[in-house]
Amino acid sequence: MDGGFAASKFESTVKAQNKGRTLYLASKSPSVPNLNEAFQSDVRPRISPGRGQSQLNVLSVTEELTGSSVIDLYGDEEDEQDEQGDEDEGENQEDEGTDGLASDNPRSFTASPSVSAPAGNISSRDLSHYDRYGFKKHNSHISQEEYHAWWDDYSRYCVRRKRKWQDLLEKSGLVSVNGVPDRFPPRSEKLKRYVRKGIPAEWRGQAWWYFARGQEKLNKNKGVYDKLLAAASERSGKASGRDLEVIERDLHRTFPENIHFQRQPNDTEEPLMIQSLRRVLVAFSVYNPKIGYCQSMNFLAGLLLLFLDEERTFWMLVIITSRYLPGVHNVNLEGVNVDQGVLMLCVKEYLPDFWPKIVPKQHARNNEFLYKLPPITLCTASWFMSCFVGVVPIETTLRIWDCLFYEESHILFKMSLSMLKICEQDIAAARQNNRALRSRTLSKDDEDIEIFQAIQTTPKKLLDPQQIFDRILFKRRFSLNNLNQEEIDRCRKYVTSQRLKLKNYADIMGNRPSANENAKRDIKMGPEFVESALSSEIYGFRRSLTAAHWNNSIKEKVRQIRRK
């Protein structure tokens, strides 16, 4: 009765969706440059990029922009534009003359609704509250004032960096067509440095696509995305009904604070972004049944959609979930558990003072923490699953993504370590500032809460990417530079095998008939078991096969021999 009603209700929703899906099959939604137009309902048919022509998508927009400058994208505060000429690094003086265009041209390239508010549906809102990607500027962690104080500086930094990039491209003999390059220079230390300092916002989609070798993937899979969409509409509600339900629920819980994902007061249809997001996620669940739909992929796809068209978003999602984060979104989430184990090993190595605070002594003795992951990994897992989307403010997220596609997944580990480092500093500072706390010795419970609180709130305040990029992540003294992709891959293998060994052992012990239930239970949980299950091999970080590690592994061997 009850169930039947819900099911039929769901079916009808699905049917309604299918209708929408078919309707828009040929109109994959555009990336952000077109979005402002998307709000003018009359241009909707016109902005459809058509299949396989995603390239045109960017071009058609930029054509309209000939002559408008980079400042369109960076100067959402009109009063700061006059000062651009002061920049010491500023060579492209011609940029200066076009400042005014930004606010006059409603179709400008900028995604900042504040300067390009179309006279359409969203005019009723105060667009100055939204940033250039359509995200709300302030929230419970960042005030409007803080935002503007930061943006005032950061927007100039972005302008400077863009000029540097333009120079680099010119010197490499690469031309940018209407402002957006379709190729980038070959990999080099210099290019890496440039990427780490941030890719110009309006090139991001193209750059991510290029560095992640998306075109290669797409060329091998021509037409696949459309077939998936067709397949999805045929069998929806059946095979992956469960996934569809969760997807549907998450569509509006992805970027509710982003204007492109919000239904406007006069809209008769759902926002295009929501429709695209649905199609990408549904297509993916058909494409990779091992993963289906995993919450957090909505954030990945949602952010990609702001920079790339739908088909490319889909393939980037495929690349992220297979190449960068293998197994992380699988039904058993084993990949994320492995990565948390790797992260814990890294914390032990790189943040030795923080380590004892997050891992209880009894689990730190051997590798038990790789199996019984400490509770903080429940929070850090989301950093990996959504690649920091929603964890840190948007500009910081985007800078991480720049590095992710150029340097691969080890950047997520470095970022997490840097974040934990900041948390550690925040906790220390808070204690320093609070006399009551300083004099009191905290109980373990209080300490745990303190750490959890820091891990939850500190990242949300990282409005300024420089705060973590310059001051921690790429700072020499923190020595994270030794942590490269090779190391992470090696570490992942190690953790995977350790977890597997332990699991197998647990299965065997658990299934063996035992006279004494309690004994069986003890074997299952006790440290002895873990010790015998996990070999004494201790992971050695390449740079730091220190005496301490060496000693530990000898000690361990001796202990084992003695036991025998």
Partner: protein, 208 residues
Amino acid sequence: MSSRKKNILKVIILGDSGVGKTSLMHRYVSDKFSQQYKATIGADFLTKEVTMDGDKVATMQVWDTAGQERFQSLGVAFYRGADCCVLVYDVTNAKSFENIKSWRDEFLVHANVSSPDTFPFVILGNKLDVEESKKVVSNRAAQDMAKSLGNVPLFLTSAKGSINVDTAFEEIARNALQQSQADADAFEDDFNDAINIQLDGEPSSCGC
């Protein structure tokens, strides 16, 4: 009374995706509601000072979890040490109601609680504010379920309309406090036993 009085009450909210776990937590802790909550990945927590029976003060640590089934494999470690588990369903979603029992079982498997029969659960049927025609879980069915799970307290709530949320959490806090004291007493008993054994036996030679 126990000397090892824990002043932190750990409460875990479980339930299907989208039933309103995050909303309930925010409504209770900061008396706010927003249509703009994002899907929870992993877990979030908030704390609130609670006063019970006029004088007992404790910090309630409320954990909000991801609802998608696969996330259960992440939660294993942090179920431990919970003092009360809140099971949430959505009155407009029959499936979420049917899953209540499996959420409870899942919790018991991983939480490793000392006595599963007496561990306190509280069931919340959320979204009471929606129009009558959309409700698919009858009060009767909910009461029957609560009874069958061992007379678990049941509250029909609305985080949006701020209906019954405080009342429900008062009950949750009371249950959590009771559980935490019971645990502390049990711990003390164990502890005393251990000492007795030591005193009775020969001092063991140091293990090397």
